[in-house]
Amino acid sequence: MPADDQLAQSREELHVGGLGSSSRPAAARAGTGSIVLPEEPSGAGMDLQLSYESGVELKARSQWAYARMRFFRHRLAVASIVVLILISLVAIFAKQIAPYGYDELDLNNIAAPPTLKDHHWFGTDLLGRDYLSRVIFGVRTSLWVAVFVAVLSTLIGTTLGAIAGYYGGTVDNLLMRFTDLILTLPGLAVLLTAAAYLGSSDSEFGPITLTQPVKVGLILAFLFWTGLARIVRGVFLSLREKEFVEAAKASGASDMRIIIRHILPNCVGPIVVTMTLIIATAILVEAALSFLGFGIQPPNPALGSLIADGQVQGFETWWLVTFPGLVIVVIALAVNFVGDGLRDALDPTQRIRA
């Protein structure tokens, strides 16, 4: 047996754990050739043709091509991406897709259980509001807030992490003390306090109006960036002494250029993975805040407050509580699977531990 085969297999075995990997070891064994090749050639332009002594044709691929391959092999992650895209489309085109308006009353169907009649798939509440439509609008807000939180905290976390890791010194010290502080505080309590006292209505700063969901997003982002900052800082700390950085410095590259062009690309994996985790966490935390009445306030729709609405209306109308919650579970699960797939794809070494 050529050594390549063992190598391919052992590499496969590194991708252990997690869902959906059941198919993978089998797939590796099924590839009887000496190296597992995908059937379709991808991105012909950048690929070099190499041939090994054994005569096996090999394609040299860029790091990204490999990452893409690994990602698409993770079937659950691919399925989750499809689900997420569908949900996002529904959220974006909520006004066109939702059968009813968010606050529209259908007085012929009050407290109707889930039925296909009149499109009340998720039932209606005691006022005759269609819960499918309400959930669609709720997803729109909740997803929007989650993505906002993820983007913002990624920007803050990456920037501060990079600066702290690259320059060290005072910035680094301040950053680490601050993340320590946030880690020591009871997170939910701080969130609740902040949301209760800062985020209950729109506020205007001169020409800029911060809508209430944006404020909730800002509060969440303020607490969520620290984890990423630590990760990015770690990578920068370990890479800034490397030869390629020294070489870049010697050839006269500015600090800015070294940070952005030379070191940052090495953190893309952890950054992207952490970002998906932040999205999932943000959705869950925002839902909990809104449920407790401290998150997104009416009239803005949100999944968490829909559940609270449903709870108030009693146990008879179980569908009002069930469906918004199920949607949260589906979204959070899908995001987590995508994160899992991305970690597989971008950072295979981490796999061994998880």
């Binding site: 252990v16 754990g17 997690g18 869902l19 059941s22 070891p25 320590d180 502080l181 020591t184 505080l185 009871p186 997170g187 939910l188 309590a189 701080v190 609740l192 306090t193 902040a194 209760a196 006292y197 800062l198 999932a280 869950l284 839902a287 909990a288 449920f291 407790l292 009445g293 401290f294 968490g304 559940i307 709870q311 146990f315 179980w318 509580v321 069930t322 919650g325 949260i328 579970v329 959070a332 699960l333 987590n336 699977f337 061994i352 531990r353 998880a354």
Partner: protein, 324 residues
């Protein structure tokens, strides 16, 4: 070791002071604790003035902070703004309830999660392993409050269909809980669902950690050595692998436990349990800074203490860890 603990504690005091000042400012700037009273036609101007005077509400915030700090240290967290109700007895009561809930849930969760994690790791890629993984993925994606509500709905319907009340879905005690064994039974029936909710949330996390650390240990050199020298498999797993695999779990459990003592806010709210979490939510809703601050100090202290416990326990259990 001792210097490590002392340094950490000193640092924690600074963190606590800084955090408490920030939060005190937060709460004081944006909330008027007597707003509710002002709207009451029965509350006279003099009453309100007296409250404002007693709580120094008209002083600048840093001054009020110092008054509060003084009150906390010398007067057991002081009293509430409205009603002048001592805070400490309330806190002690709700802490007792939260302790019952959290200790029961965490003990059960650890037992189950350790079992699941170890078995998953020993039978990696088995049907059991995949089922457990699926369970924990779904568990991590499920909002706790929603799970609690679904259980409530389920047991309400079971009660309606069968007429048998297995568990209560709200409150901590019945109207007449009785004494002795009846009281315990009543309490158990009330706590069962909240405990279950907290358990599921914890199991989803713990079992993943347990599985990962068991896998790491099982593939380590000293376990291979133990096998190579001919020890029976049972002794290899239980004595050499299992005990070492538990170490990372200790940290996670300690941290999580410290956090939960602040009250499982969401769970307690859904089930109407008179615990730390509900106390905090009520205080927030009343806009009264003093109980909020008292709660926060107790909770933050507990988080810090359990962080420290986690670190010390880790060093004790794993001699490779050194403090400097």
């Amino acid at each position: 070791m001792l210097t490590f603990v002392i340094r950490r504690l000193l640092y924690s005091v600074v963190v606590l002071l800084a955090a408490s000042f920030i939060i005190f400012t937060f709460v004081s700037v944006s909330g008027d604790p007597v707003a509710f009273l002002r709207m009451q036609p029965t509350a006279s101007e003099i009453t309100i003035q007296r409250i404002e005077e007693r709580k120094h509400l008209n002083d600048p915030i840093p001054v009020r902070y110092v008054y509060w700090l003084q009150d906390m240290v010398t007067n057991e967290f002081g009293t509430t703004t409205i009603g002048d109700r001592p805070i400490l007895p309330d806190l002690t009561r709700v802490m007792g309830h939260t302790l019952q809930l959290v200790i029961a849930a965490e003990l059960l969760a650890i037992l189950v999660a350790v079992g699941i994690g170890v078995y998953s790791a020993l039978r990696q890629y088995s049907v059991f392993d995949y089922t457990a993984t699926t369970f924990s993925f779904v568990g991590l994606a499920t909002p706790v409050f929603w799970l609690a509500l679904m259980l409530q709905v389920l047991f309400v319907y079971i009660y309606q269909w069968t007429g048998v009340r297995i568990f209560y879905v709200a409150n901590l005690s019945g109207v007449d809980p009785g004494t002795g064994i009846h009281f315990l039974l009543d309490r158990a029936q009330h706590l069962a669902l909240p405990v279950l909710v907290l358990m599921i949330a914890s199991i989803a996390t713990y079992s993943r950690y347990m599985r990962a650390s068991m896998l790491e240990v099982v593939n380590s050199d000293y376990v291979r050595t133990a096998r190579a020298k001919g020890l029976p498999e049972r002794s290899v797993t239980m004595r050499h692998a299992f005990r070492n695999a538990l170490i990372p779990l200790v940290t996670i459990v300690a941290l999580n436990f410290g956090g939960l003592l602040g009250g499982a806010v969401v769970t307690e709210t859904v089930f109407g349990l008179d615990g730390m979490g509900l106390y905090f939510i009520n205080a927030l809703n009343n806009g009264d800074p003093y109980p909020v601050m008292a709660w926060l100090m107790v909770t933050a202290t507990l988080v810090i203490v359990f962080n420290l416990v986690a670190d010390i326990a880790y060093g004790y259990l794993d001699p490779r860890v050194r403090y400097d």
